[in-house]
Point group: C2
Chain length 208, copies 2
């Protein structure tokens, strides 16, 4: 059995759409998917663990990494930097691992320019009202931040048609199964499977 190169999945969602819950559910049932751990200059939130949720670095170190070409993509969001290590990603893909990136649309565009066959998945909230309710429910953000996130969510929904898949998170259990199915089905494409089962299929064919 030959291991084809892994897939890159990018999950994009407005803040509050439920991305973290859905991705956690996916990772719990699909050990072949590995989450990319981003570098960031923002302060850790309560419960966030260095190396698991992010690599937390200072602004100076981040800028030095940009200089050194360490990032596959990086973006500044609300005054903080976020970036994905290029070397790590290429290494994992070569091992046949599937990598899931939780990045924004700007980062997605950068990754798409560098890799073929990137699979983009947009998570949509059921409605703006519901999104607002969820953002207020978190009670961690100021009114200004909430209004900015709602405006940003509207622009992100405007771009929904650009993505390969759309999961509407109006039913969390259905949305979980949707995401799990997308990841699974993408591995079963003919081209991937022809590589994975090359020997078995050629032995079965008329020349075998």
């Amino acid at each position: 059995m030959v291991q084809p190169s892994g897939n890159i999945y990018i999950v994009i969602a407005p803040s509050g759409a439920g991305k973290t819950t859905l991705v956690s559910a996916l990772l719990a049932v699909d050990p072949a998917v590995q989450l990319s751990v981003s570098y960031t200059t923002r302060a850790p939130r309560e419960g966030e663990v260095e190396g698991t949720h992010y690599h937390f670095v200072g602004r100076e170190q981040f800028l030095a990494m940009i200089e050194a070409g360490d990032f596959l993509e990086y973006a500044e969001v609300y005054g903080n930097y976020y970036g994905t290590s290029a070397a790590w990603l290429r290494e994992k893909l070569a091992e046949g691992r599937d990598i899931l990136l939780e990045i924004d649309w700007q980062g997605a565009e950068q990754v798409r320019r560098l890799f073929d066959g990137v699979i983009t998945i947009f998570i949509a909230p059921p409605s703006i009202n519901e999104l607002e309710r969820r953002l207020r429910g978190r009670a961690t953000d100021s009114e200004e931040v909430i209004q900015r996130r709602l405006a940003e969510a509207r622009s992100e929904v405007d771009r929904a048609a650009l993505y390969d898949y759309i999961v509407v998170n109006d039913d969390i259990e259905r949305a979980k199964q949707d995401l799990i199915s997308i990841i699974r089905a993408e591995r079963l494409h003919g081209t991937k499977q022809m590589l994975r089962y090359r020997d078995a299929l050629s032995r079965m064919g008329s020349q075998g």
Copy 2:
């Protein structure tokens, strides 16, 4: 919510690859998929029910239906005719139903010429030895038929790379989940979802 047109899924497999078991498992969990019921001139096998497994018709009636242009596709296999009613399929798709066709590669080519976005899924047995074991296990076919099916299976495997997805049936539970995931994921493509959630997404966008 606007209902987009349904998908056409074609499942292709060598005889003995386990197609019937996999498709039954899919239909049991996914009520949105409807199996196309073919017309055939072959005699019913034990347990086969008219209208559920096939519409059993005489050769003369089948030839008259060909004349009348009733068939979307038809093929002669081992001396018997099999065909799919065009009118029925178009009606179901317009209702937003997903239709699954169990036809051979010749039929698949015909359907692909007539419809856009047809999704083809090849079910491969784990090996020719295992396929032979399964065919002999059925004990319904003569040695000549078994040999013909094995030769035909080899040619079908030669064509595997032409299909959108390949499911290798070396573990029945995994293969079932694979098939279920493919059907589910195909509905979540951006273009389909943009239609299905058109109103909700446009209300959420920056013009909403």
